[in-house]
């Protein structure tokens, strides 16, 4: 479980996050949604420690992350897996080497065990016979799946996904969404997904946190978001003609 307590962050005096408090529960797919520029990426970067929050607390299973030293953070970080928007696969390594990389750095497994684990993770994301290809040789959807395989290779307790569907066609996007949701339940991890894709919200959002102008504006489940009377949430949810038609 991750608890966020009154987290604030400013850049050059301009507040981007204002006293955000929420809880991301274990075994659930927690979604952060909001318009571009609302502060959801900054919140995720604060959660994983790529940015330091100016005020407030971020607690990983009651361990305060924000005030930890680099060495203390490293212990938590070894329990984190992250899927980046562009995949962030290492260009110079093959698919297999990318998945094995976290194991090489932090596990005491021998080579056979690492290979077995890598193959298990790749199979789990429905990828086979691509072990020796380089990231440049595979499609965008495959890159995302390799990135998920790499993120789960070290058996993380927390999984973060930043815009997992960006640049993907609707069918591949659903495959990635379902994969994230299945992995969350199967390995009982705390998953936080940053998205502005309403399809993802309706597909996998166990819990949805809506960020508006740097504030936590609304939170609830994917079923509740369709019924809320909150104007800003409705403007976001029913921005497309399709959603408005469905509502009517």
């Amino acid at each position: 479980m991750i608890r966020v307590v009154n987290v604030s962050k400013s850049f050059d005096g301009v507040p981007v996050l204002k006293n955000v408090s929420t809880v991301f529960e274990k075994g659930k797919t927690n979604l952060i949604i909001g318009q571009s520029g609302s502060g959801k990426t900054v919140l995720m970067k604060c959660l994983v420690g790529l940015l330091n929050n100016d005020a407030g607390q971020i607690l990983y299973d009651n361990h305060e992350f924000s005030t930890m030293t680099f060495a203390e953070r490293r212990i938590i970080r070894q329990k984190l897996g992250m899927l980046f928007q562009g995949g962030a696969l290492f260009d110079s390594l093959t698919v297999e080497e990318n998945v094995i990389f976290p194991l090489n750095m932090f596990s005491e497994m021998n080579r056979e065990e690492k290979l077995e684990r890598a193959n298990f993770c790749l199979k789990r994301v429905n990828l086979e016979n691509v072990n020796h290809l380089y990231p440049a040789e595979i499609s965008g959807g495959m890159k995302k799946r390799v990135a998920i395989a790499r993120a789960i290779s070290n058996s993380p307790s927390y999984l973060f996904c930043d815009e997992p569907n960006s640049g993907l066609d609707p069918l591949t996007a659903i495959v990635i969404d379902n994969l994230i949701s299945e992995i969350t339940q199967e390995f009982d991890i705390t998953t936080v997904v940053n998205t502005h894709d309403m399809n993802s919200v309706m597909e996998i959002g166990d819990k949805v946190a809506f960020i508006y102008k740097g504030e936590l504006w609304w939170e609830g489940s994917r079923f509740e978001i369709l019924k809320t009377e909150n104007k800003e949430v409705n403007d976001f949810v029913y921005a497309s003609e399709l959603m408005r038609t469905i509502k009517q």
Partner: protein, 246 residues
Amino acid sequence: MKLFFHIGRYFILLAQILKKPEKASIYRRQIILEMDNIGLQSLGIVAIISVFMGAVVTIQTAFNTDHPMLPRYAIGFATRQSIILEFAPTIISLILAGKVGSRIASEIGTMRVTEQIDALEIMGVNSSGFLILPKVVAAMIINPVLIVLSMFLGIFGGWIVSAVTDVMPVSNFIYGILFEFAPYDIFYALVKTVVFAFIITTISGYYGFFTNGGALEVGQSSTNAVVTSSIFIIIFNLILTQLLLA
């Protein structure tokens, strides 16, 4: 003020680079890979430039010392001294600053803008140490080898000139290159090379690591890395020459 900002951030980065590696075996493997990338892949350009520069230095020295009071072997002597003291360690390091420095800055800069460095950080890896330290160590090991090779090839280029032209007899050239040889000159050249290798890799790593933006900024980082490394090589050339030879 910006200069002080860069100097401060450079030294903070150096402190991070020199932290204890997470897994020594991974770093050792990276060092071997980098020795190939930085050193062996520069072998061709170093060899070609060294041979031709050695030949040119011999011809120019011959034309500028055409005086009955000067013995002909002085041409070989001057060629050897020019190549060992200045050409091989400094000029080849400047060329490596262009080739290796731009490669390091653009490689690390691209990793920054494609979030690969963020991915390393989130895994708990000391990203600056993992990406820059193996390059620094590899360059400090392999560059002296390249420079010694450059010395031999430069003198070989001079020998070819004396053998195939009538600039001077080969026997005089051989006598000149052996005349009053001081091993300390090699030591001086190698000390300079190691310092220059450190400058090239850390400055290029610095510019790459702190790249912000996209493709345009990666290009700018690469250019800044080459320009700054070259300037510092020239400055440290003067400082080390004063310290070691004066």
